[in-house]
């Protein structure tokens, strides 16, 4: 019977371990939008991306719809080009949509805010690989302070 009790204890040990792993996976980790299910890519050029990083979220009205997957410099003038991977659940953005780089909270991390544009007969929908042209760059605190000091000096 000794051996049976041992086996029972080891069995319970393994079960507890697996349950703990499930708890970590389901309760503590994210099941993120961009990594499962179908996605498509959108691109946007900015003047300055500030502190945006790969894997930063793309949000519509605060809801995460995708993630930044690649940041490169593009074109003759080396403009930052951001590749966003958006979930196929949200594939009805018009090409009058705009993106801006926002900061969550005063010191928080930066993310891309996507504002859906109007829809009428003249605009087309964004497809895989399309560019969003209406972009607003990140707010760089140093630039703001510089502008403020400059405008103070003019008075």
């Amino acid at each position: 019977m000794e051996s049976r009790n041992t086996q029972l204890a080891v069995g319970f040990f393994v079960i507890i371990g697996v349950l703990a792993l499930l708890f970590l996976g389901l309760r503590a980790a994210n099941t993120n939008v961009a990594s499962n299910g179908q996605t498509y890519q959108l691109y946007a050029k900015f003047d300055n991306i500030g502190g945006l990083k790969e894997r930063s979220p793309v949000k519509v009205g605060g809801v995460v719809v995708g993630r930044v997957t690649r940041i490169t410099l593009d074109g003759d003038y080396y403009e930052p080009l951001v590749e966003m991977t958006i979930s196929k659940d949200y594939d009805e953005f018009s090409n009058s949509s705009s993106v801006s780089i926002l900061t969550s909270g005063l010191l928080g991390e930066q993310y891309i805010g996507l504002s859906p544009g109007f829809i009428d007969d003249t605009v087309e929908m964004l497809d895989d690989g399309d560019y969003i042209h209406d972009t607003k760059s990140a707010l760089v605190l140093e630039d703001l302070i510089g502008q403020f000091l400059f405008s103070q000096g003019n008075d």
Binding site: S3, A9, F13, I16, A20, F23, A29
Partner: protein, 258 residues
């Protein structure tokens, strides 16, 4: 002068010989025809004494470390009005570092020393030689099940440690100090990633499991078969294993998160 150089050379030669012995022992214990029917009960027995009996210390220390993290994190974060970040702070520090490392240190102290002492005593009382006399390979019969038991048990223990620690942080942060429950879990979920954090933590604890168990078995199997020798070997197991874990942890962290 020459004596000093000679003693330095002897130390180096000894340590290389020790590493070689350990490698040969591991290879001979692990390589060979698996005999599931014979080794399964042995593995169960060792999983019980190495894994199940370590559960209490792992759960209790996990709970307390999680609670301390919650308390310390809260008093610092609340100054910046960022107490919502308590969840990811507790979860990330447990999953990435404290879970695997503290489990490995506790495991070295609780199970590693026991393994060394047990095998050392088997050697001192010539049980290992008796096994050989009966044509039973002590490496396959004694070392191999203990190695696999440690290798399988420690990742499980580390996962349990992290889960219990997160619960401890939740108890202190949410239940006691009044961090918003929704924010605690949702900010944690948006910051913790399955592959980057949880999987890397498990890989870490697998590496630590391999190292600690291997060191413990080697120290026991190659100890001087006297009471002084066994006590030295046991001490040396805990010290070497702890140092190896901490050093490896830095390397692994640099590779994974650097």
């Amino acid at each position: 002068m020459l004596d000093r150089v000679a003693s330095l050379g002897k130390t180096i030669l000894d340590s290389i010989a020790g590493a070689g012995q350990a490698m040969v022992m591991l290879l001979r214990a692990l390589i060979g025809k698996p005999q599931l029917r014979k080794s399964w009960p042995l593995l169960m027995q060792q999983m019980y004494s190495v894994g199940v009996l370590s559960l209490v210390i792992i759960i209790v220390s996990g709970l307390f470390i999680g609670m301390v993290l919650g308390l310390q994190g809260y008093t610092i974060l609340v100054d910046f009005g960022a107490e919502q970040s308590l969840g990811p702070m507790v979860a990330l520090s447990l999953l990435r570092e404290l879970g695997p490392v503290v489990t490995a240190l506790l495991f070295a102290g609780r199970a590693g020393s026991a393994l060394t002492a047990e095998i050392g005593l088997m050697k001192a009382t010539e049980q290992l030689s008796s096994l050989e006399m009966m044509a039973v390979d002590p490496l396959r019969r004694v070392i191999s099940p203990r190695f696999w038991a440690g290798f399988y048990s420690m990742p499980l223990l580390a996962i349990i440690f992290s889960a219990v620690g997160i619960y401890g942080g939740y108890l202190v942060g949410v239940r006691w100090l009044g961090v918003d429950e929704g924010a605690f879990w949702s900010v944690m979920q948006s910051n913790v990633e399955w592959g980057q954090d949880i999987l890397n933590g498990i890989i870490k604890s697998l590496v630590f499991a391999f190292t600690v168990t291997w060191i413990a078995l080697h120290k026991g199997f190659h100890c001087t078969p006297t009471s002084v020798g066994i006590s030295r070997a046991t001490t040396s197991t805990v010290v070497t294993a702890s140092l190896a874990v901490l050093g490896l942890d830095f390397v692994l962290t640099a590779l994974m998160f650097g």
